[in-house]
Amino acid sequence: MSDKSKGLSKAREIYLNRSQRAKELKAAGQTIIGYPCVYVPLEMLTALDLVPYQTCGDIREPVTEADRALPSSFCPVMRNCLDCALKNKNDFLDGMVTIHSCDPQEKTARVWESYTNYPYFHFIDMPITVRPEALEYFRNQLNDFRKTLETFTGRKLSKDKLESAVKFHNRQRALVRELYELTKPSPPQISGTEIIQVLKALTSLPVVEGNDLLTEVISEVKNRTNGLEEKPARLLIWSSTLDDTDIMQVFEAKANVVMNESCGGIRAYRSKVNFTDDPLEGLADYYLKEITCARTFRQATLGETRKDYARDLQSRFGYLKDIIREWKINGAIMLLVRYCDPFAFEMPSLKDYFDSIGVPSTYIEYDYTIGAMAPIRTRIEAFLETIDQ
C-alpha cells in the first residue's frame, strides 16, 4: 500500500524533502531557478529548459538570520523565506526571479539580491491594477524578463517553445482542478492536508514530472476504498498563504477543508493561459487577472462615479459564491497572516460578501510559526460550534 515511489506517498516524501529532486537535477546538469511567489510566469522558465523551484518558508524554523535585514514587524512569510535563503538552504539555485506582487516581496527581493550571489537575478515590476494600460505595462515587463533570460541562457525564447510550455502548465492547472473535484463528494476523497503535500511537491518539480505525479495521485485517490472521515463541516479557507500541513491539520481536526483558496492551494490553478499572437500577452493577461490575490486592485466598472457596493463585492468575490455552491461549503475561514496588509484590508469587504450570501465566516490570524496553536484551535472550534446548530 505505502509504495513510496508513487502517488500520495511519493508526494508526501517530496513534501518532506522538497529540495531533493532539484539537487539531483542540478547534479545532472540542469539549471534551477528559484521564485518566491506564484505570480512569476513559470512558462518562460520551462520554455528555456530551466527548472522552476518555489522557495518556501518553513514554519518550524525560528527566524534568526533574516532579522539582520528585515524588521520584525514585517510579513512573516517573507521573513521566513529569506531566513531559509540566508541559512544557505537554497544554495543549489542558479538564479532567482522575484516579482512586485506585494511590497514585502519587493523589499525582500532587494535584500535577497544583495545578500546572496546567484548567477542570475531578475525582478519583475508587476502593476497593481487590471486596467488595459497595466496589462500593456506588464507585457513589456515580461518582455524585459525574456531578454534577461535569453542573455543568461544564451538561447532564444521562441514562440513555439513558449506555447509548448504553456500547454504543459495549462495541463498542470487542469490536473489540479481535477484533484479538487475529488473534494466535492461527502466525505471528500482527499483531505486538505494531502492536497497541500501534493501541491507543495509540484512547485519543487519540473512541470512534466509534476503532471505525472498529479496523474498518479488522481488515479490513486479515485480508486480509494478507505474513505476519509466525514466531519460536521465543509470549510473554505481564504488566505494569502496556507502551505503547511501542521496548520491544515488544526483545521481538519474537526472539519473537512474542501477548498484552500490561497497560494498554497488552488489559487494559481483556477484558470488557464490563453494562446495569443504574442504569447506574452496571454501570459500577462492570465497572471494579472486570473490569480485572485488581494494584492490586485479590482472594481466593478472603470470610471464609475456612483459606487454600488453589492455589485462591487460581486465582481471581486463572485467566484467564491460558485465555489461555495459547487463544493457545498457551510463555513468560511479568513486566515490572515500577521502584517499582511492586502489581505487584512480585503477582509471586511469579504466578510460583508459572505454575510450577503448567507455563509457563516470567521477570521483567524496566524504568524506563520508552529507555536501557539491552542488559541487558533479554540477559535476554529468555537466557530464550528456556532455553525453546528
Partner: protein, 284 residues
C-alpha cells in the same frame, strides 16, 4: 442525576457540579499553574468531596477552557466561548452580548437563546487581557486584587498610550519616575484596558443585555472603566469566574437529557479520575 463542568483556564481552574434542576452542589476555583494543569483529577476530587458524591454518580462531564484536552475523564470538550454563553444565559436569560476578560484572552460573544452565534477574540497577545493588569501591578508593587480599589481612589486618569503590555510596563516605569501619583496611574491602566476591550466588542456589535465575566470582572475599578468605555449598563454575575464551568455543566446536562429522551447512545463513558498525561511525561 448529577453533571459537571470543568473549566481549565490559563490562570484559574474551575469546577461546577449541578443536579438536573441546575442547583449548584459544588464550586471550586484554584490556580491552574504549571502543575495543576495536569491535575484536573485533583480539582475534580475536591469538588466531589464538597458535594459528597463519587465520580460514578456523575452522569456527564464537559471540559472547557485552554486545558480542555487535559481532562481525560471528560465525556466531551466544548470551547469556553460556547460554555460561557450558556452559563451567562442561565444567570441572565435576556443576555445578548457577553464580554469575558480572562488571564490570557478577552472574548466578546453574541448570544441568542443561550447559544453562541458569533464572537471575536483579542489578537494572540496579552494586550486587552488580565495579564495586562497582572504585569503592570507587579511593576507598581501592588497586589493584583488591590488594583481595582486603588483605581477608584484616583483624582484623575493618566493617559496610557501603549496598549502593548510590555510597552505599557515601560510607560508605567516612566510615569513613576516622573512622580505621578499611583492611584492615577492605576486608573489610567484600567481605562486603557477597558478601551481596548470595548473596541473589540464594538467590532462585533453590542446589544443589551450586556454581561461582563471572567476574573477581571471581579475588579470594581475595571467594571467602572468598562461602563464608561462602552457607555452602557453592564451586568456582572456574583461569581464571574464560574460562568464557563457552569455553562459546561449545563451543556453536559442538556446533552445527556437529550440523548436519554431520544433513546440515543448516552454521551458518557466509564471513567476513573486519572491524571492527564503528556508526551513529555511519557518520554521521561
Amino acid at each position: 442525576m448529577y453533571f459537571a463542568g470543568v473549566d481549565i483556564g490559563s490562570t484559574m481552574t474551575k469546577v461546577v457540579l449541578i443536579d438536573e434542576s441546575d442547583n449548584l452542589l459544588s464550586t471550586i476555583k484554584g490556580p491552574t499553574g504549571p502543575e495543576h494543569r495536569q491535575l484536573a483529577n485533583e480539582v475534580m476530587s475536591q469538588s466531589l468531596e464538597q458535594a459528597a458524591l463519587r465520580i460514578d454518580d456523575i452522569s456527564c462531564i464537559v471540559a472547557t477552557g485552554y486545558g480542555r484536552l487535559n481532562v481525560p475523564f471528560a465525556d466531551r470538550q466544548i470551547t469556553e466561548l460556547s460554555c460561557h454563553s450558556r452559563g451567562v444565559s442561565s444567570l441572565f436569560p435576556k443576555v445578548r452580548t457577553a464580554i469575558d476578560i480572562g488571564g490570557q484572552d478577552a472574548k466578546c460573544m453574541k448570544i441568542n437563546n443561550g447559544k453562541l452565534t458569533n464572537f471575536v477574540m483579542n489578537d494572540k497577545c496579552a494586550a486587552g487581557t488580565g495579564r495586562f493588569l497582572e504585569v503592570t501591578a507587579a511593576t507598581l508593587g501592588v497586589r493584583l486584587e488591590d488594583m481595582g480599589d486603588i483605581a477608584l481612589k484616583a483624582t484623575k486618569k493618566i493617559q496610557i498610550s501603549n496598549l502593548c503590555t510590555i510597552f505599557a510596563q515601560q510607560e508605567v516605569v516612566g510615569l513613576l519616575s516622573r512622580g505621578e501619583n499611583l492611584e492615577n496611574i492605576v486608573a489610567g491602566l484600567h481605562d486603557a484596558l477597558a478601551s481596548r476591550v470595548a473596541a473589540l466588542a464594538r467590532r462585533l456589535g453590542i446589544e443589551p443585555d450586556l454581561v461582563l465575566t471572567g476574573g477581571v470582572a471581579k475588579n470594581k475599578g475595571m467594571v467602572m472603566a468598562m461602563k464608561e468605555s462602552l457607555g452602557c449598563e453592564l451586568l456582572v454575575p456574583e461569581e464571574p469566574l464560574l460562568t464557563g464551568a457552569l455553562g459546561a455543566a449545563i451543556l453536559a446536562k442538556e446533552m445527556y437529557l437529550k440523548a436519554l429522551a431520544k433513546g440515543e447512545a448516552l454521551p458518557t463513558k466509564p471513567r476513573q479520575l486519572e491524571k492527564a498525561t503528556f508526551f513529555s511525561q511519557e518520554k521521561r
